[in-house]
Amino acid sequence: MRRCLACLGALASIALAATPPATVEFNRDIRPILSDRCYACHGPDQASRKSKLRLDIEAGAKADLGGHFGIVPGDPSKSEVVKRITADETRRMPPAWAGAARLSDRQIDLLTRWIALGAVWQKHWSFIPPVRPTLPQVSDSHWAKNAIDSFVLARLDREGLKPLPEADRFTLIRRVTLDLTGLPPTPAEVRAFVDDSSADAYEKVVDRLLASPRYGERMAMRWLDAARYADTNGYQTDGERSMWRWRDWVIDAFNHNMPFDHFTVEQIAGDMLPGATLQQVLATGFNRNHRGNGEGGIIPAEYAVEYVVDRVETTSAVWLGVTLGCARCHDHKYDPFKQKEFYQVFAYFNNIPERGKAFKYGNSPPLIHAPTAGQENRLKELDLKLAAGERHMAEIEPGIAKAQRAWEKSLVKTPDPALTPALANDWASARAIAVYLPLNGDLRGEIHRDPPRSDKYTYLMENGPVVVQKPPPEVFEPLWKDGAGQYGEGHIGQAGAFDGKRFVDVGNVANFGFYDSFTLAAWIYPTLPTGAIVSRAEDENEGQGFGLYLKDGHLQANLVQRWLDDGARVESKGTIELNRWSHVTVTYDGSRVASGIRIYLNGDPLELDTHLDDLNQSFDAKQPLRIGAGLGPRNRFHGWIDEVRIYRMALTPEESAVLAVPASVNQLARLAPAKRTPPQAAKLRWCFLDRYAPAALRDGWQQLLDLRGDRVGLVESFPTVMVMQENPIARETHVLLRGAYDRPGDTVLPSVPAILPPLPEGAPNNRLGFAKWLVDPANPLPARVTMNRFWQMYFGTGLVKTVEDFGSQGEWPANPDLLDWLATEFIRTGWNVKAMQKTMVMSATYRQSSKVTPELLQRDPENRLLARGPRFRLSAGELRDQALAVSGLLVEKIGGPSVKPYQPPGLWKELTGGEDYIPDQGEGLHRRSLYTFWKRTAPPPMMMNFDAAGRETCVVRELRTNTPLQALDLMNDVTFLEAARALAVRMIREGGTTEAERIAYGFSLATARPPKSRESNILLSSLHYYRDTSQTDPELAAYTTVASLILNLDVTVTKE
């Protein structure tokens, strides 16, 4: 906790130096004072500048302001700045009336001396490209193991401090194993290292750990915090989304040691790379991880802006370490970023075909199907089989054609009554049929509640051939409502007569939701231009549900959750002719957007107007399927309806055309082959293959259809991931006055901030060019910022503590040469991430003991000088993972959908009133914490107790508190109790025969070292006490309590 409090100020490093520095350096000593105390009124923001004096640029500070000067180099007494900071209360700066305090004597002294020494100005340090520093001379060249140590030791030499010796081997292997894999070492690994006397024993451990797949998981955990990764959309409803394929991409990228420049370009603009692979497109999920608002009443334009702002803020925090977001409403108050520049960067991320209103549930476009490796293999298999099947059909085509011709001739001679429309029994595909009602004088038909797409169903009619049915259809009894059923001459056989009142209630079938593809089709003979054809919707005006309607002669398809603002509604441009038979079909592909709906009239696709494209949740209505009704009593159908077919799949255009062919198979057989239209020919061919071809041919055809169905089903089952995509025509970007979405100002074009280098030679001025610019070696920031964040992972605090802010208000680096060496080394190695981790953990600095004397603690409380090794509490995820690992419960498996481990009941429900959290059973309880399902509005409580990032917005700073709620969590959380029990069982079973051995075993599992005798004695005495006081199964109870004690020890929860 105190570490965090210490994060408050940006000026902490100044406090480190007990004595004033001999030299005064602008960037280190002066800029922080000016920035913090003066820039709000005398800084970059023109609008809030209070006088002509500006102190953020040299020319301004030294300008002639009409006979007086802010700063006169070499002459403090003539410098207005010095006069004013030392003036009495009425005149002094910063002013008392603004609530500001006087500068400290030390600050005044520094400013005065700096002016006396000539007031040498410097560009802000982080905007100057790093230059590889030469290694400094140090007092003890033996101690240094690599360049890091030379820089650290040089600083310690200046401070008159000495580094500590290397930590003991137990401590060291635990430290490095936790740091590189996020999990503790096993006893065997500890033993092997302790016993290894070879000179490179430690390096072997490091290499082994870097090669472990756990390394990628460990590195991903922090990246997910920065990337605000979560499993829900955030905001009000906070419905589930699916971004885990992106998460797995990150793990994989770290494990394969993808160079950081590639890692960057692919995540920012992988979709724009030439010939982008699935993986490269998938990577761009990084900038779709932001929250999406699907709340009912929002104004989409407002949130469309917020998403882009989030991308700019996140990207600039992660790669540039600057608070560009501060320039959203006005020029930056401290750093040289103009408001206009914010929107120029904004423009790079503003060209995505996305909606401001996100889906309440699920991923919002643009998105891709992102099959897992297993699914890709299955797809390949299917494609091979399909190709073989198609080839086979092509090979036997002459035979088929010949057999078909013979069959056609027989039909001409003797029409098959089963294929005569007059008998209501023509052929149509029965694959994936959900409902078929011929309305042939009664309501007999065929209804399947949930037909799988690839299974074949045929309907059983009096004269038709019998095909085995599977599974037997459920019994549904459609009923006429609001009047007795009447029939008349239909298009095929008879048709239902609709008089604007009566309709058919088919029952609770065809319960499709917004992820389901489906088809509604029928022959209709309308006598009035308005009325419902088929629907599953509330029977009231503007009700919820889906359906196909006639509206003033137009065909209208409607998927509605809420009529005005939550639905998809399309309508044919043209109108349908009244008083004649037409075939109508609507298909929906489950894409949740209006463009996924098609309407066909007599087999021809219609041009559609989109009236509403704002569907953002499912439209299932608790309503029966109705024929001739839906959306209220005034919307009943007038005329005749015949041959209603509903499929649990979206028919293809070709299938839709075939379904609408009015001629019966018997009639088509009479038509000369050359005169047949393609749909007519296909109808004949499909009918033949379906029913009349020789058995072998029929089977081959069915198998092919099954394969096609399987393929569609497989592709639909692929997880999706939201990705970046470019609009073909660039969207205009405006400066937004005061940052408000509805106050556009001047138009801007994409550009990088002027203080930083321009785009690299040849890079396009778009998102891809921006991505390349981020990792252009000329860019002074990304290598430094990234190395600083890595440093934070090992040492708890960055070399620049303000890891998110390298600007004027950020901290001056604790060791600038070291940071620059790391940055240049990173680029020199080709942005080799693993190599840099290795360099850090191989350093003597990292390997030091973490014991601290009161004297050193007083001198350097936060260990910024690094005269000792790092020592801090494990992160939330590491604590849980460690408990699972040492107890043997951990299920190690990389990737996959997020899992739901234990969580106290009711936490979701009490916030939402809706569904509660239901923990997984089995392995989902014991996976590593980076796979834990993350609901943004109700994050996992244990993770939040231990300071995990909330995943609402980008967080790069690591924080650690120390609270009583954490103590309660470690003592009583089911996860830790279960782990204690399992650890107890391990102690008893594997630990040896004596109590002392068992306790030592448990202790060393958790801490990687044997207990000291005093520790052992306390634990033994504890064991005896609990054995004596426990009622049931005292032996196990006692060990469980001691195991819990071990899991609660400071030494266990701390990286020593």
């Binding site: 906790m1 406090a15 009443g297 003592m971």
Partner: protein, 478 residues
């Protein structure tokens, strides 16, 4: 006013550096006490003498309709079913739910109003008990906000900013003022589900989060299901003596560690376990209502015996206030009446009326109302025009940020006052508008805080609850 690093680090680290060598665990724990839930006030705080020491904030989540409850608009009856004139609407942005509506018919309230008390305050028949304490209340009928949807609007009320990421008001207060009770958190949150609209306006944990402040300042949820505080209860069969021994042995082990490593974090950890042990007693004592006299339940109503109800939470709020908890916030869900408003709002009123009145009365009887401020209100109001179908006995109302009513009571505010006015349509404020930032500034003022000076530096900038705005509404102050 913000502490400097020197104060924070050097004095304390120096102290612990010395202390760890010589002092025993108990002494250390005592000395560390102020570090626990939230430490003592920041230096210089309060900035001036406070009128209230603590807040009970009854957040009515969903947006209660001002027209049905407190803002009496008799002229609406004559305007029933007439179109809301453009001259009144003045281009006000509407939510996406009604912006495509073609008609905006005026829907008058179905409920009767009467004047109550010496103050003659108008209150609706839906709040009969509250009406009886009207003279204790300070109504602000001219509240307005900037957001028109729940999540940003609640976030705005809670943090002064519409988007997630900033500290909640309770977190600011526990950061600034610390706690009066070292055995309970400084900021406690309780949630109840109303009988009105059960399926809308979810809340989010971040609404009482600490934003960029350290997480120890976040609100601690007291729950009616399971442990009142997460992980509070020991496993079944594990008794207090066993837990005591556990903490003692743990402390001994950690002391050995402290002796060797000298890291003051270890001393803090020892103290935190001690604190956790105390909470295991203090929290169940707090939530155990068996000692409450029958009079209590007469005041709060029979629901107060049912854990998790608004009434039970009001009673717990009083018990927390008695124990010096700085900021108690109740969230009562279900006020989002887009449709079926008359029936739903009657249910919501029934859930809350007696308990609110009981709380005021109870605080007064115990002498706590003087230095406890009670705040009642939602994230926005509701439109005068009907959402959906307007019939003789049914209607709905959409979100309305331009005017709505809140009330305050107790420490620091004028009782029996009605402040601000809306027009006859209850659509615009015509007198004394009070912005969310103004309300925040005023609440902070009552606690002795200058809202412009309670700041925290994050990403290089000094942030505060009221952002760059906010004026103390002095007319509301006693």
């Amino acid at each position: 006013m913000q502490r400097t690093d020197e104060q924070l680090l050097l004095t304390r680290r120096y102290f612990f550096g010395k202390a760890s060598a010589g002092l025993g665990i108990a002494a250390l724990a005592g000395l560390l006490k102020q570090d626990l839930h939230a430490e003592s006030a920041l230096p210089g705080l309060p900035h001036f003498a406070p009128r209230a020491k603590r807040i009970i904030y009854l957040f009515q989540s969903g947006g209660p309709s001002q027209m049905e409850l407190f803002d009496y608009k008799p002229k609406l009856k004559d305007l029933e079913k007439t179109e809301l004139p453009d001259s009144v609407r003045m281009g006000q942005r509407l939510t996406g739910m009604t912006s495509t509506q073609t008609s905006f018919p005026v829907a008058p309230s179905l409920f009767q109003f009467k004047q109550y008390g010496r103050s003659g305050t108008w209150v609706s028949e839906l709040m009969p008990n509250l009406a009886n304490v009207a003279d204790e209340l300070c109504f602000v009928k001219s509240m307005y906000t900037e957001a028109i949807n729940h999540d940003p609007a609640v976030t705005f009320f809670q943090t002064g900013f519409q988007l997630a990421g900033r500290p909640s008001i309770g977190a600011w207060l526990s950061y600034g003022l610390g706690s009066e009770n070292q055995e309970l958190p400084a900021f406690v949150v309780m949630i109840s589900q109303g009988s009105g609209n059960p399926n809308d306006q979810p809340l989010a944990d971040r609404q009482w989060g600490s934003g960029f402040l350290p997480t120890k300042y976040q609100g601690v949820k007291f729950r009616s299901l399971g442990d009142p505080v997460l992980y509070l209860s020991d496993p079944a069969g594990f008794d207090r003596a066993q837990r005591r021994r556990f903490i003692d042995d743990l402390s001994k082990m950690n002391q050995l560690e402290l002796d060797e490593f000298g890291d003051p974090e270890i001393a803090t950890r020892i103290a935190q376990y001690e604190m956790a042990y105390k909470m295991q007693t203090s929290v169940p004592e707090l939530t155990d209502l068996s000692g409450e006299p029958p009079r209590t339940f007469e005041l709060y109503g029979p629901d107060a015996r049912k854990p998790g109800t608004f009434a039970a939470n009001c009673l717990l709020a009083r018990r927390l206030a008695e124990r010096g908890v700085r900021f108690v916030q109740l969230f009562h869900r279900g006020w989002d009446q887009h449709t079926n408003l008359p029936k739903q709002i009657a249910g919501q009123a029934k859930d809350t009326d007696q308990a609110c009145a009981g709380l005021i009365q109870d605080l007064k009887e115990r002498g706590l109302l003087n230095d406890t401020m009670v705040v009642w209100g939602g994230e926005f109001g509701r439109t005068v025009y009907c959402q959906g179908k307007l019939t003789a006995d049914n209607y709905g109302r959409d979100h309305h940020p331009r005017c709505f009513t809140m009330w305050l009571a107790g420490g620091g505010v004028k009782s029996g006052l009605t402040y601000g006015e809306t027009d006859d349509y209850c659509y615009n404020i015509v007198k004394d508008p009070v912005h969310v930032h103004d309300l925040h500034a005023t609440i902070l003022h009552c606690l002795g805080i200058d809202h412009t000076k309670l700041t925290y530096k994050f990403q290089g900038r000094a942030f505060r609850l009221t952002d760059v705005n906010g004026n103390v509404v002095r007319d509301l102050l006693a």
